[in-house]
């Protein structure tokens, strides 16, 4: 039996976690044959998910963020998990310009949604948030369409 191809990371929720998440997904996606343009999109999506965990998941304390990257047939899944304060209203949080901070654009979920093929957000107040994104390689999508 061939083991599932995956990468698991666990890190503290400081701002540098954002860059580490990007680096990991770039290498992992590169090894799976994603194009440069697709890797750039994945980097943005992961950056936004980890930023949300750092800024909104743990607004007043340092916590743990887990990133799970898993190879799928023709693509990969990215899971970003925190055990922070959670999101009370996921639907509202996913709307553009939801953020109350004038320095933030409220576009995090918009980027995650636009730059991946599938986005799921699960959250529970005081328990944390789990963001799951799936991205397929473009050449794989073309093959399936034929």
């Amino acid at each position: 039996m061939v083991a599932e191809n995956y990468l698991r990371m666990e890190m503290t929720s400081n701002p540098d976690a954002v860059g580490m998440g990007r680096l990991a997904v770039a290498h992992f996606a590169g090894s799976l044959g994603f194009s440069m343009a697709e890797i750039e999109e994945l980097k943005v999506a992961v950056s936004e998910a980890v930023t949300n965990a750092v800024v909104h998941g743990y607004p007043e304390a340092i916590g743990i963020i887990r990133i799970n990257l898993t190879e799928l047939e023709g693509g990969l899944s990215v899971e970003v998990v925190d055990e922070g304060v959670g999101i009370a209203d996921i639907r509202r949080a996913r709307e553009p310009n939801y953020s109350q901070d004038p320095e933030r654009m409220g576009l995090g979920f918009v980027f995650m949604e636009s730059f991946t093929d599938q986005l799921q957000v699960q959250s529970e107040p005081a328990r944390g948030t789990r963001v799951l994104m799936v991205k397929m390689r473009e050449e794989q999508e073309k093959e399936e369409a034929q």
Partner: protein, 110 residues
């Protein structure tokens, strides 16, 4: 990440090198705000050597744009390459801010 600042014919040109994300946003914001506090009303952001930008980086740009606009000033982007284009385009920033090919074009004619 690093930012170099140069004053050219009444404009302040800020050249940003590296990533614009959560880990660098505060530093870039502080530096640009200092220029605005010192009287800059025409800010040119050269993004030609920015390797990555996400919504944290865009927030810095948009925040400076809003500050300057409220004072009757302006912010112009230069060096928006293919790598940054999808994010800037999707955010709507390109509809809001003027984008120019080169620093000289901005400083000369605006």
């Amino acid at each position: 990440m690093s930012v170099s600042v140069q004053r050219r014919r009444g404009a302040v040109v800020a050249r940003i090198v590296g990533d614009m994300d959560l880990s660098t946003a505060d530093e870039i914001r502080t530096l640009l705000d200092r220029e605005i506090d010192l009287g800059c009303r025409h800010l040119v952001l050269n993004l030609g050597r920015v390797s990555f930008i996400d919504s944290s980086g865009l927030g810095v740009i948009l925040g400076r744009y809003r500050r300057l606009a409220a004072m009757g000033g302006r912010l112009v982007l230069v060096g928006v390459g293919d790598r940054l284009l999808p994010v800037l385009d999707l955010s709507g920033v390109l509809n809001l801010l003027p984008v120019r090919q080169s620093e000289s074009e901005v400083v000369r004619g605006g």
